[in-house]
């Protein structure tokens, strides 16, 4: 089995084999939430919270995670949490950060460092929330923003977003006689964040939990704005098995469709989990119903473009050394 082989070939060593046991046992994102079976995003949030710890305030954009976690009068959150609207998580987080800072300065709250973390889906981040995020990052607020990218508007029924990959079938980019699914290339959001000259940008995926959590911890420790773009598999929207959620994220990384890297003060570094050589893209997309309609030519184009983007990334990594 591929997965098992992967563990044997190093991943588990990277995990330190029993690393899971060293993880914070507290569940800050409690069970009973209404996410779909096998939801990668719920998993990613659960892991993120463990990495952040209790001295954290979460500001959530409208989306799946908000809807499934806070059905009044209950909440899955054990961290202070706030939701206002779809496009403004970063702006609300700006206000929270500023508010906590000034209250602490004035001695109105305990003098203790509490991290403000904005979270949103890809729609709430790369599309409708982009302006607020850009403003918040540019202003230099001491906050982390994490985009949980499941590559479409899943909450409203799988409509395409700016983060939907090439070729994917969505309910607003369906394949038909005159169209072949989503025609555009996935918006390079991490690169846009790098362009804001913030101290820390990283990509991550729940399938590499220790890597993801380490990145969250690093971002948490940075005084200033930081951004993590976390690929979060949505079995419902990607049209794959719930159980294959983790595998799907791993394949996205191994094929280079979603490379893992960090940019610290402008310097690019590939994450340790990236393989020496990329697997064929087809290994990844053939398992997902959203790519089922693609012709060999289209897959060929997709593959070439992935290679090109990866090459561009590697150039930056090499020039950062």
């Amino acid at each position: 089995m591929n997965t098992a082989k992967q563990y044997r070939s190093g991943l588990v060593e990277n995990f330190d084999l029993y690393a899971p046991k060293l993880v914070d046992k507290e569940e800050y994102f409690a069970a009973g939430h209404r996410a779909c079976q096998g939801c990668g995003e719920a998993l990613a949030i659960r892991l993120m919270c463990k990495a952040l710890g209790r001295d954290t305030v979460i500001v959530n954009a409208t989306g799946c995670m908000e809807v499934i976690s806070t059905m009044y009068p209950t909440t899955a959150w054990k961290l202070p949490w706030m939701h206002v609207a779809f496009p403004n998580a970063a702006a609300v987080a700006s206000g929270v950060e500023a508010g906590l800072k000034v209250l602490r300065r004035k001695g109105k709250i305990k003098d203790r460092y509490v991290k403000t973390v904005g979270i949103g889906g890809d729609g709430g981040t790369v599309d409708i929330g982009l302006q607020a995020l850009s403003g918040a990052m540019e202003r230099g607020h001491d906050m982390l923003y994490v985009c949980f990218d499941n590559e479409a508007y899943m909450n409203t029924g799988i409509q395409r977003s700016g983060a939907t990959p090439f070729g994917a079938s969505t309910t607003t980019a369906p394949p038909g006689k005159a169209s072949r699914g989503n025609r555009t290339w996935k918006k390079n959001m991490p690169e846009m964040m790098v362009a804001h000259n913030i101290p820390y940008v990283a990509t991550a995926c729940h399938s590499y939990p220790i890597d993801f959590m380490n990145k969250v911890k690093k971002a948490r420790s940075i005084k200033g704005p930081s951004y993590i773009h976390c690929l979060s598999v949505c079995p419902t929207g990607w049209r794959c098995d719930s159980k294959s959620c983790i595998k799907m994220g791993r394949l996205a990384v191994e094929t280079g469709a979603f490379p893992l890297y960090e940019v610290e003060n402008g310097k690019y570094r590939l994450s340790a989990d990236m393989p020496e050589t990329l697997r064929p893209l087809e290994d990844y997309i053939k398992l997902q119903g959203r790519f089922r309609h693609l012709t060999p030519d289209e897959i060929g184009y997709f593959q070439e473009r992935v290679k090109l983007e990866y090459k561009k990334l590697m150039t930056k990594v090499k020039s950062s050394r």
């Binding site: 098992a4 409690a30 069970a31 009973g32 939430h33 939801c39 998993l43 976690s69 209950t74 595998k247």
Partner: protein, 96 residues
């Protein structure tokens, strides 16, 4: 906050619909969604905790001996734990 009857009357609604009970989602048992349940074979289990780490519900916990089990009140039966358990210690079996 005292327990209130549900659904609440308008007088009982918290101001601003603020939820004062952290983690109260546990009132709702997502275990009813499950079609298959995970069964651990502890003879194969190496106690690595991968199943615990990858559970989207956070409903897998470690017992005193270091073995793992899912809280079936919350396990939705996604099968990730079984799929990711490389020693093959977890099997998904159909609910009755």
């Amino acid at each position: 906050m005292a327990e209130k009857k549900w659904p609440e009357t308008w007088q009982e609604v918290n101001p601003g619909c603020i939820v004062f009970r952290p983690g109260s989602s546990r009132d709702y048992h997502t275990g009813t969604w499950r079609a298959e349940r995970p069964i651990w074979d502890n003879s194969k289990c190496i106690k690595c905790g991968i199943c615990y780490l990858f559970c989207p519900e956070g409903c897998i916990s470690e017992d005193e001996e270091g073995y793992f089990a899912a809280d079936l009140n919350y396990c939705k039966g996604c099968g990730i734990c079984a799929h990711e358990c490389w020693p093959g210690a977890i099997k998904m079996v159909g609910e009755e």
